[in-house]
């Protein structure tokens, strides 16, 4: 709920719409419910329960009040709400990038029990449990797993995506401000699932370039990817 990138921001907008609509429907239902429970007690229904003329055949609703409630509340209301929600959902889905484009930074992430292997194919950098990215540049993550199913999730950047041992999934994220973000495995993956975290560091472009250079030199020097 504290977005640090455009994808997450779109989802927050969607969440606000969903919450407002949902709260509206709930309040409406509670008001109707309270009225229903009180009016009968206050003024006895003088039509009274009649003999059931509907016994032998399929009846429709008797009386306008029932018809309004069931058709209006049970059919029209959810239909309208669903149309709005579904439209907004499709809109948001279209806005979410499926691939990063030509200038995207590609990172290959492999889930292990219980750590993340992070590789930058262009520069050959290898990290563990740490992902460094550049602000305002799409990041295309290629997710897979070395053992069981994991799921990569950085809430401040966007939704999650599962990592399977059978195939590679693509997730595109983007950070719009500098900072350190928490990410973690969101699919139960065994004993230490709870501590399978990842730290995401978003740099300004120039800082990121400097970081890349420093890391590449460190790799060449043989000290490995990560401190």
């Amino acid at each position: 709920m504290d977005p640090a990138g455009p994808v997450a921001r779109d989802i927050v907008d969607l969440t606000i719409v969903l919450t407002v609509l949902g709260a509206g429907v709930f309040v409406l239902f509670v008001v109707l419910g309270v009225v229903a429970l009180r009016r009968g007690a206050a003024e006895p229904d003088d039509a009274g329960p009649r003999r059931d003329e509907a016994s032998g055949y399929l009846s429709t609703l008797r009386g306008t009040a029932a018809r309004r409630l069931v058709i209006g509340g049970g059919v029209l209301l959810p239909t309208v709400i669903i149309a709005v929600v579904f439209g907004w959902t499709l809109e948001t889905m279209n806005d979410l990038p499926a691939e990063g484009g030509a200038d995207a930074l590609v990172v290959e992430i492999t889930g292990h029990q219980w750590w993340w292997d992070v590789r930058y194919p262009e520069s050959g950098i290898v990290l563990t449990d740490e992902l460094h990215i550049e602000v305002d540049r799409p990041i295309e993550l290629h997710l897979t797993s070395a053992d069981v199913i994991h799921s990569f999730w950085v809430p401040a950047l966007g939704g999650k995506m599962d990592a399977f041992p059978d195939f590679v999934n693509t997730l595109v994220l983007e950070a719009s401000e500098v900072g350190v973000l928490r990410g973690r495995c969101a699919e139960f993956c065994g004993l230490h699932h709870a501590s399978m975290d990842i730290t995401v560091v978003a740099h300004e472009p120039e800082d990121f370039d400097a970081w890349l250079v420093a890391q590449s030199e460190a790799s060449v020097a043989g000290t490995g990817g990560r401190g």
Binding site: L14, G33, A36, P49, G56, L61, G74, V85, S151, F164
Partner: protein, 868 residues
């Protein structure tokens, strides 16, 4: 069809006009009672369980079986629903708590989910159905009481087997969903997951058995005049539910079978390294798993639909709307399983489809909710504990439904999936939407369970503690979920702002537990010292309230005649109608007293159709359940010879329990009965009921086969080369030969039926023998082919599915050969005649189905690689 009675409109003498004073134990004021007839005591005796321990074990009476299911379910609720939740909530109360470690915590949430989903809600509702349906429907018993007893024992043994994992320190820890490959042999090598797969597998067999019994009972065992437009809504809900169980649990059993084969026999269904697919499990699991939610929810709506009109003092508004919504939910629920898989990387168009389907189900759910609301709106609500729970249900379920639409929105689900938001959503649906109605049902029908009223004050206390506690526990989870707290973690760091919300949740769970204690106390006190209930303390409208509380063993001495949807409100007399039906009803009250007779009706006409014999007490369902659990236990212990012994026990017990019982009527008196009452009497079993039974059994087998075929083609799509390199193509000629031989078996079974209908017993025997032999010959053809294949079941998923599918065909053919042999055996001693030959009819129907299933299976096995 005339309903005599209250003057139209303001009948001031109507039962709804009088105050409800259940505490005083009012005795059936103004609502009609059923006649007991002159021989109620004799009938009650005939329908009672035999004396002693044997009687307890052999009883098949619906009241006993239903009550056992409910009590066992409540026991598991206490174990897996309450104890686990309290420990987990204590651990999560503060950040970085150290009460339980990750291993124990993983075991606990696995147990909590597995137990509540498999061993609590469904058995309790099946118990409600078995206990109540005969009363609600105005009939004496369920259609297959022995199958009901078998269902109970398999459920009990499966639950115990699952729980026995604690004794061996091998507790399942891969979640209630058991995703592969984590649950596979490589990452969960010890026996823990075998307890999970096999123990719950036994319980699933029980769920399916009960579903078969429930659906046939609703179709056939009803009071005359109770058409589908007058069917109580709980029966409607259970009818839809029982079909959903068949269609949902069967793929799960197939999935569990494949997983256990991977774990125990080294097959490669879910092993991506050998042509398997880790996602195949998720599809099989959620094809079950999502309908499962509605399988739990629909019976709850059925209970609500029974309670609302009684306490709103108003007939159900929009009855056909509720029925249509129930059926629609049943269908739709199978079209949205993939919304549990929004983050696995499905194509956008698939995501859009499943999002839409998941949202559309809000419409039938909305129709139901507003139909109840309209009934309350137009009625005069009376506040009693069952109604309190129903109102609590409506509030919580609507909120759970709204968050349900939210998580159906794919991008939002990307954030909410596997977070505490989903935990909040599902508990609003399952506690608000399912557990509240369950409690409402217990308070409402307690008079019919034990003949006493439950205490109102404790009931209110129970309600308020549970309602406040549940909202305290689960509402804050929406918020921490949106803050990013994931599920299934045993602890979380400080400084994220999650602590306060978690603390509120933990306090809430203790408030809820207080409610459960109040309920337990109430059950105990009311059972021991409750106010005796009259026949109709709530002045309710349906047939169960026309019998004494608790009812007699046989329910109805004289079957009622139904002319209204609310018979006790609209009918002054429950035995008035067509004179011939009236006479038949009176006759049923006097005869037969020496065997268990029941009246069945036409499915749509609801006119009397037959008087059939209902199976009596038998120890064989218990033995069959022991055989079943032995098969599973042998696999658990890797003593595979034991599985053969278990299968032998199972087959023998099933044969024994279906042994034709001696016919106590001669043909002359059968014909006399038929002349007098216009319908046949079937002391030796009804071909109509058998047709339903075999039809549903075949449906089960077909769904089983369907799930295997689905797995076959799913694996086919996942592999570019099929069969894999080095595996030879299947021999099409062998498949064709097997098919021809199996057709010979089916044709022989048909000839056996034609012969016995013509009175030619010798011809029947020859044809039945031919059917058995041809069945065996077809099996030999397939076995010979499997024997000579150049691959086994373990190197590649292709071999795994080939051997599994072929084995399924072999098993159904073996069952057919056994049936043909039993028909031969029973044909000695003149048991069959042109008039009595029910087993031959069953044999024929079964063999036709086997031939069709073999055709589909052989086509896939031998032509699958060619056509795809």
């Amino acid at each position: 069809m005339s309903t005599s009675g209250h003057s139209d409109g303001q009948g001031s003498d109507g039962p709804w006009e009088q105050p409800l004073e259940p505490e005083r134990g009012t005795v059936g004021i103004d609502t009609p009672m059923v006649d007991e007839g002159p021989f109620a005591e004799e009938l009650d005796q005939e329908w009672s369980k035999p004396p002693g321990l044997y009687g307890h074990l052999a009883t098949v009476q619906n009241g006993a079986v239903g009550m056992r299911l409910i009590l066992t379910g409540l026991f598991f609720l206490l174990l897996g629903g309450s104890v686990d939740s309290i420990v987990m909530r204590l651990q999560l109360a503060r950040p970085e708590m150290d009460l339980v470690g990750p291993q124990l915590y993983n075991e606990m949430f696995t147990n909590h989910g597995s137990v509540t989903m498999f061993l609590v809600i469904l058995p309790i509702f099946e118990g409600f159905a078995i206990l109540l349906l005969p009363m609600l429907l105005g009939t004496r018993e369920m259609a297959f009481p022995r199958l009901g007893a078998f269902a109970y024992y398999t459920f009990l043994f499966g639950g115990l087997m699952y729980y026995s994992s604690t004794l061996f320190s091998a507790v399942p820890d891969a979640g209630w969903f058991g995703y592969t490959p984590l649950s596979g042999p490589e990452y969960s090598p010890d026996l823990a997951l075998d307890f999970w797969v096999l123990g719950l597998g036994v319980a699933e067999v029980g769920a399916i058995a009960a579903a078969l019994e429930i659906s046939v009972s609703i179709f056939k065992n009803r009071a005359p005049g109770m058409t589908f437009t007058r069917l109580p809504l709980f029966a409607w809900a259970m009818l839809v539910t029982s079909f959903m169980i068949l269609f949902a649990f069967t793929p799960l059993i197939v999935g569990s079978l494949l997983l256990e084969l991977d774990r125990g026999f080294g097959t490669a269904f879910f092993d991506p390294g050998a042509g398997g697919s880790s996602l195949l499990w998720q599809h099989l699991f959620w094809i079950f798993g999502h309908p499962e939610v509605y399988i739990q929810f629909l019976p709850a709506t059925g209970i609500v639909s029974m309670i609302v009109p009684v306490f709103a003092r108003r007939r159900t508004e929009g009855y056909p709307w509720i029925v249509a919504a129930t059926v629609a939910i049943g269908f739709l629920s199978f079209g949205l399983w993939a919304h549990h898989m929004f983050t696995v990387g499905l194509a956008p168009v698939v995501l859009g489809f499943f999002a839409a389907a998941s949202m559309v189900i809000a419409i039938p759910a909305g129709v139901q909710i507003f139909a109840w609301l309209a009934t309350i709106w137009l009625g005069r609500p009376v506040w009693r504990t069952p109604f309190l729970f129903v109102v609590g249900f409506m509030a919580m379920f609507v909120l759970g439904g709204i968050t349900g639409v939210m998580v159906a929105s794919v991008p939002f689900d990307g954030q909410a999936h596997d977070s505490y938001f989903v935990v909040a959503h599902l508990h609003y649906v399952l506690i608000g939407g399912v557990v509240f109605p369950m409690f409402a049902g217990v308070y409402f029908w307690f008079p019919k369970f034990v003949g006493k009223m439950m205490d109102e004050r404790l009931g209110r206390l129970h309600f308020w503690l549970l309602f406040v506690g549940a909202n305290m526990t689960f509402f804050p989870m929406h918020i921490v979920g949106l803050m990013g707290m994931p599920r299934r973690i045993h602890t979380y760091p400080e400084g994220l702002g999650w602590g306060t919300y978690n603390l509120i949740s933990t306090i809430g769970v203790f408030v809820m537990f207080g409610g459960i204690v109040a309920f337990g106390l109430n059950l105990w006190r009311s059972w021991r010292h409750g106010v005796p209930a009259g026949s109709n303390p709530w002045k309710a409208d349906t047939l169960e309230w026309s019998t004494p509380s608790p009812p007699l063993q046989h329910g109805f001495s004289v079957p009622p005649i139904v002319t209204s949807r609310h018979p006790l409100w609209d009918q002054e007399e429950l035995h008035r109608g067509d004179p011939q039906v009236e006479a038949l009803g009176r006759a049923m009250g006097e005869w037969p007293l020496r065997w268990r007779a029941n009246l069945t009706v036409g499915v749509t006409s609801a006119r009397p159709e037959e008087v059939v014999r209902i199976a009596g007490p038998s120890i064989w369902p218990l033995v069959a359940a022991i055989g079943t659990v032995t098969i599973f236990a042998a696999e658990l212990l890797k003593l595979r010879v034991g599985a053969l012994a278990g299968a032998a026990v199972l087959v023998a017990a099933v044969i024994r329990w279906n042994w034709p019982e001696s016919i106590e009527m001669d043909i002359a008196s059968e014909e006399a009965f038929e002349r007098r009452h216009g319908i046949p009497v079937r002391p030796g079993g009804s071909p109509v009921i058998s047709r339903w039974a075999i039809g549903l059994a075949v449906l089960f087998l077909s769904i089983f086969l369907g799930a295997l075929l689905l797995s076959y083609f799913y694996l086919r799509i996942e592999n570019t080369v099929w069969p894999p390199p080095g595996f030879s193509d299947p021999a099409i000629g062998t498949g064709a030969l097997a098919f021809i031989v199996i057709v010979v078996a089916a044709v022989s079974a048909r000839r056996a039926l034609a012969a016995v209908q013509a009175g030619d017993l010798t011809g029947m025997r020859i044809a039945a023998a031919l059917a058995a032999l041809a069945g065996l010959a077809a099996m030999v053809v397939v076995i010979e082919d499997l024997w000579t294949l150049d691959f086994g079941a373990t190197e590649h998923a292709y071999g795994s599915i080939f051997f599994t599918l072929a084995s399924f065909l072999l098993v159904i053919a073996a069952a057919g050969a056994i049936m043909a042999t039993m028909v031969l055996w029973w044909s000695r001693g003149g048991r069959f005649s042109a008039r009595h030959h029910n087993p031959v009819v069953v044999l024929w129907r079964y063999w036709i189905s086997v031939a069709v299933m073999w055709a589909a299976g052989l086509f896939t096995l031998y032509l699958g690689p060619t056509v795809t």
